[in-house]
Symmetry: C2
Subunit: 373 residues, 2 copies
Amino acid sequence: MGPGPSNVAPSVLKAMAAPLIGHLDPRFVELMDEVKAMLRVALETKNEMVFPVSGTGSAGMEFCFVNLIEPGDEVIVGVNGVFGTRMCDVAERCGARVTKVESPWGRIIEPQQIAEALKKTPKPKLIAIVHAETSTGALTPVEEISKLAHDAGAMLLLDTVTSLGGCPVKVDEWKVDALYSGTQKCLSCPPGLSPVSLSPRAMAVATTRKKKVQSWYLDVNLLASYWGQERVYHHTAPITMNYALHEGLRLALEEGLDKRFERHRKNHLALKSALETMGIQYSAQEGHRLWQLNAITVPEGVDEMAVRKKMLNDYSIEIGAGLGPLKGKIWRIGLMGETSSLENVKTFLKAFGEILNSLGRKVDVKAALAAAK
Amino acid sequence: MGPGPSNVAPSVLKAMAAPLIGHLDPRFVELMDEVKAMLRVALETKNEMVFPVSGTGSAGMEFCFVNLIEPGDEVIVGVNGVFGTRMCDVAERCGARVTKVESPWGRIIEPQQIAEALKKTPKPKLIAIVHAETSTGALTPVEEISKLAHDAGAMLLLDTVTSLGGCPVKVDEWKVDALYSGTQKCLSCPPGLSPVSLSPRAMAVATTRKKKVQSWYLDVNLLASYWGQERVYHHTAPITMNYALHEGLRLALEEGLDKRFERHRKNHLALKSALETMGIQYSAQEGHRLWQLNAITVPEGVDEMAVRKKMLNDYSIEIGAGLGPLKGKIWRIGLMGETSSLENVKTFLKAFGEILNSLGRKVDVKAALAAAK
């Protein structure tokens, strides 16, 4: 119940115990096609270029920047947590000139902030924002920022590592040009792959660059020949991880995206109602709180780390700590994919309540459990 | 029985079906330490900086170059197959000035060739060679080339993707400064991780660079804080793949490295003796043939692809095709890790002999099987 990896469904674990086949085996090629087709459904896109990068979410982030950015390009990055900060670092390593648009950690990036930045940097090549900030629990709305980006002639890049599979991600409707995600959050597969998507416009940029992509491993010009129709050997795809992603996506689509999102929403609300009876506050901006990552404020006088350690050692429940400026100030409770269940919410509440009581706080665990619905 | 992924032991498959734990969980941290310790034994090194990169072998290749090379650096690369060719591309994307030392595919890089190159490029920063060329089946001896590199003040970089776990790789004795490997060959784990090792000298180079490493994902300065003692979050490690590598290494060390190498050698000799009775020739340079990757010449008049397809479709045996200049000219038969058994050699021979006979060649399958020992 931390910020990921989330729990993995038994059928996904079972899929990984299947014997290996070759990365050019016709059966594996079929599986690749099915993974791409299912990713398109999950991402609500018709983009041809949709596939999982053979690395974790941060490799997907790097994939987007190395393919789209050339030295000297202007980039605007929304920074309201760890991952916006990371995007600036990655972009700068590609030679980008980065304009940071900063919000306090826990708040969203407001369209108005992007509009202001565009006054100083009117023609950026790319505007990058984090959809669901895993480090703070805030969900930044995409549509208005997308409009601002496209009106300025820029591409829109979206980090959906924690959003995909847990709340709507509408690539085509929102006109997202480049996107990366992860498998270990709301898709509930192990970490190791990063689903990515590039719009036709982004592909045109990547395929008509002046300079070679600085990463051979992440060069979409080479990867397109393996994941496309030609099936030219590039690198040895992580076979087993693709088995897992295939089964994870199948489960998500079998459940139905809308039902899955509703499940995430309901369990978030159940947790929230219960925590409120304990006097626990959510730390992210009201109206923009993630269902899948519940960031809550550590009550004054409570030892943040002691609670987390007790949760793990005495109850076998992992919850996340705050990072950066939120270190020691928040806990992050993941209700992602398989982990998002009312049973888990109640198991958490019972453990958490008992620990708070053992520290001398007086919380009514029964009342909290009754409120969790 | 292709060039990898090889077959995976049942206990490795089972290890991957274990539930996920967090990438900062104390139990996972223990597992990371054990993976590093076992890798040091397998690589015969005392290097502190030994860990698996969260990507496949090619990510490991890129890891070595991005960390050690800065724009304008001189590099000498031995090119005798696909992977030497790839190293040149990767090095150039890092801004290296590359001197290629070329041998015909199937032959090794001779020390004399490196000595010649050093006359024109006397002070390279790095000399890079492929130990076991998966695309050709040739094993280049390391020691003399290492001496030439160090006498010239250069670091030695070694690709051991196909050698590690199948034949000796002596990092300290051979004074290898940088090394990458893969999990899906003779370690018989699924693809998805790349064990790497940097000597103290290489670490000193990586940590005192003028320019930031161009890849955030592969920057050893950041990765060292996660895989070292500080355990600072960098990216979410592929938990399940590390479970697999842990069990794969445990099995390799339980068998014993010497016994494991001897098993690879014996099964190679069994296959070779049998193929000779069929009049089939090995294509790689005599005296330098890999035990784990048997490259054999397609007999004149035989349709290379038809044989491979029959092997796969009628016998469920994958063997590899030739690549580049060897396309259509060789087959590559992997006897790697779990796959290296006399039973597999015999299963292959029976299928292969039957197919050759069905194509009108007259081979004595019984005699071949009798010779396989």
